[in-house]
Amino acid sequence: MKDSLAEKILDYALSHGGDYAEIFAEDTDRTEIVLMNEKLNTLSVGKERGIGIRILTGTSCWYYYTDRSDESFLLQALKDWKSGKGNQNATWNMPVETVYQQEKKWQKAELAEKKALLERCVRAAQEEGTYLAKLRASYVDMDQRVHIIHTDGGNIRDHRMKTRLTLTAFAKDGNEQRSSFTGPGAMQGFEFYHHIKPEAYARKAVRNAEALLHARPCPTGKMPVIIANGFGGLFFHEACGHSLEADSMAYGQSEFSGKTGQKVASEKVTLVDDGTIPNGWGSLRVDDEGVPTQKNILIENGVLSGCLADRLGARKLGIQPTGSARRQSYRYAPVSRMTNTFIMPGQDKPEDMIASVDRGIYVKNINAGSVNPVTGEFNFHTKEAFLIEDGKVICPVHSATLIGTGGEILRKVEMVGDDFALDQGYCYAGSGAIYIGAGQPSVKIAEMTVGGDKA
């Protein structure tokens, strides 16, 4: 967007009663390829460009988005804003541009190379599997250029590149079919695939899916649960991460509202959201309001120490933004969301955790979950679960939903392992689907409700 047009829009907003205004201009290329075994199932290649204009007046928000960038159209669109009393004396100067440069250029690849990468994964999976029915191999990349100009003195250009593989293996024996997935991703270009072993991820998905065959019905009721390291961190993303976003925390809506400084979890829990992790799938240099990302400690040794705030949420809470404003695209106004969220490692050994359980569930992989931040009730669905009896992992069990309330479960964290890992996924909420990291070491919860299928 031309600075002169941006200046006109922001001038209009400030001189007609807005006390903050911002333009988010985006230019994004995206490719998605899906193979079902060797066969091309989906190919989506595209490019889009758009603008989101936001004006704040106190805590009132006006948002407009469009694909159009012509001056007359945008200035006309502003007329839909029911402005307040104009402040003709509002002073504002177009800030100097800050450009975030990638030190080492991200590598791009042709469609054929991307497809060949998936074909390698399919071949590796087929070599590995005895019961493999199919491998769904998906590749996605996104090359996003954003220009954020706002009246708090920001004129920022940032370039983001993300890429990810999702490999879902379906194992079948007779009528029974089970699946498992792996999903490595990063804020990098195609060079990411030179640093990892894609075939190894495919083989792992196959092994995990086959291990789930002949699973028994999952028991129901309250019991100890051990959640394995890595994407198990989604558990805390749901159990308390969303409830610590400013939109939830404002106006006393979250179960954690007004509890900063209070003990809300077992002292073994230190919860962090860190958007600065180099090459992290959930990382960003600046958030979608142009605020540099940072490491936010949300819970420290069990004590609530912070929350995640975008500008509007920060206004409602009377705090500073934390570099946590995110949106899927210009079609969404930014809200506070997580980046890479994880539990810091502890000193317990995973094998000791399993040995400590008489009868419970070992969750090796998680599918997805959700939370009601107002009540704190969360749920997450296991992808790969196993029964523990007498301190040993006995057999796979059918997938189940594990539930609880964040405030209650956080206090029941009994052991925290030393085997930290960070994995990748997506989060779907108010400002669309965004890429997030979720991580943890293995964690033992003393007791939670397991929604199995064995009465």
Partner: protein, 452 residues
């Protein structure tokens, strides 16, 4: 499209791409306009407006298929570069878009409402709820207007248009006391705010929330098997989650938990599931799908028998059949997959349609499940299995007596369809975020509950 200029741009782009060697060019163009007004819990208004377009362009270059999406079509060279980069070998006969001449659709009336017209209704709704004793706050009070135009252009430059749009009121309240909180979110659809019973929606929402935290209190529910009624909202959400099992591609790939073949029993013998594309006051009103095939009013299940599997053009071709007019795109960027317009679920047997109170009376002892969450994760359309966090009310002696929360319910959806004994006369409809499904409450027999 929003302007004649945009249409002329497509003509120009077609000429330029043709000069560069592209043939068989076809376009899918979706234009979206939105106006949303909302009040936060302190009564402060916010609004969101949108005017957006997306083009999906398909063509052939040197016998390769090239398909892309974009929202910028001024630069033909950039489009050509993108299409060339996306070229893939034709693995099957191209699904060429062919539109009959003069197939222009009829624009449906869509009445926009201004912020100043809507806000008084929202304020009134919020005040009405806040006057109730145990309502802590209104966490959602939103009026959404959504209009879209779908334009298809085939290689002969025949044009076909369709129009869709809705008005939706979303209302959510949190009620509670020092010990517990409960939230309920409801929505309703219509064509203008004056004709929609916002107050009725507010009253129902408040009543439901207050009922949950009110009389009887919340008691932990023990794990076990309970005779159950699922509310209309819960049943509608479950139907949406298991809908992919009715899609041709999933049946073909062995990814459908619906094992019945067409003509076989798939539900209790009084149950029907019907798609109604042109339903007045509903969320969707489409005359063609996103591939230009006419939509049609049809039964998926009738008298408990599976009537039809849903197809788009590609999946129909694979099965040597005709598209059922169910080729839809899930997002502006996605390819055509299978989808629906409006689904209605019900019972054809008058004797099996009762009020909710009568259903509870007949149940005597059991549970009424009024909400579930995490359906997108905890319901698997490949196996039919579900395990979901749930809340609701206990039924004792045929009456609601206290509430329960934080339990899971689990089972197999396709088995559940065969166990439906009776349904309620009242229905509820899903939120705009998922497929449009309207369903009554259903008495489903025993349900596995994991609780205390």
């Amino acid at each position: 499209m929003r302007t004649e200029h945009e249409f002329e741009q497509i003509k120009k782009l077609t000429q330029e791409l043709t000069q560069q060697g592209f043939t068989d060019l076809s376009f899918y163009i979706k234009t979206i306009e939105k106006k949303t007004y909302s009040l936060d819990q302190k009564g402060i208004g916010s609004s969101q407006y949108a005017s957006d377009i997306m083009y999906s362009i398909e063509g052939t270059l040197q016998e390769k298929i090239c398909k892309i999406y974009t929202n910028q079509v001024e630069d033909a060279r950039e489009i050509a570069r993108l299409m060339e980069a996306a070229a893939v070998d034709q693995e099957q006969a191209k699904n060429r878009l062919e539109i009959p001449e003069r197939a222009e659709g009829q624009e449906q009336m869509f009445q926009w409402q201004r912020e100043e017209e809507v806000l008084p209704y929202l304020e009134e709704a919020q005040t009405l709820a806040q006057e109730e004793g145990n309502v802590q706050f209104v966490h959602q009070c939103t009026y959404e207007q959504h209009k879209e135009e779908i334009c298809l252009i085939d290689p002969e430059f025949h044009v076909m248009r369709d129009y869709d749009g809705y008005h939706c009121f979303r209302f959510g309240v949190t009620a509670g006391n020092l010990l517990q909180r409960e939230t309920v979110l409801r929505c309703m659809y219509g064509t203008c705010v004056q004709d929609m019973d916002l107050k009725g929606c507010v009253k129902k929402t408040v009543q439901e929330t207050a009922g949950t935290v009110g009389s009887g209190g919340t008691e932990p529910l023990r794990s076990g098997v309970y005779p159950a009624i699922l509310s209309g909202a819960v049943m509608a959400e479950l139907i949406d989650a298991f809908l992919p099992a009715f899609f041709g591609e999933n049946r073909r790939e062995g990814m459908s938990g619906l094992k019945a073949e067409v003509g076989e029993s798939a539900a209790s013998d009084h149950i029907w599931l019907r798609e109604v594309p042109d339903l007045h006051g509903a969320r969707r009103r489409r005359t063609i799908d996103d591939e230009g095939t006419p939509t049609s009013d049809k039964y998926l299940i009738r008298n408990g028998i599976l009537q039809e599997i849903l197809h788009n053009r590609k999946t129909a071709q694979q099965e040597n059949t005709e598209s059922t007019g169910n080729g839809f795109r899930f997002s502006l960027q996605s390819n055509v997959a299978t989808g629906v317009t409006n689904l209605l679920f019900g019972s054809s047997d008058e004797a099996k349609r009762k009020t909710l109170k009568e259903l509870e009376q007949e149940l005597q002892e059991g549970i009424l499940v009024t909400k579930v969450d995490g359906v997108f994760a905890g319901a698997d359309s490949v196996t039919g299995e579900f395990s979901l966090i749930a809340g609701g009310k206990r039924i004792c002696g045929g009456k609601e007596e206290g509430s329960f929360r934080e339990v899971t319910i689990s089972g197999n959806f396709f088995d559940l369809l065969k166990r439906i004994k009776k349904v309620s006369v009242d229905t509820q409809t899903t939120f705009p975020d998922i497929a449009s499904v309207t369903a009554p409450a259903v008495a489903v027999g025993d349900m596995i509950v994991s609780g205390k």
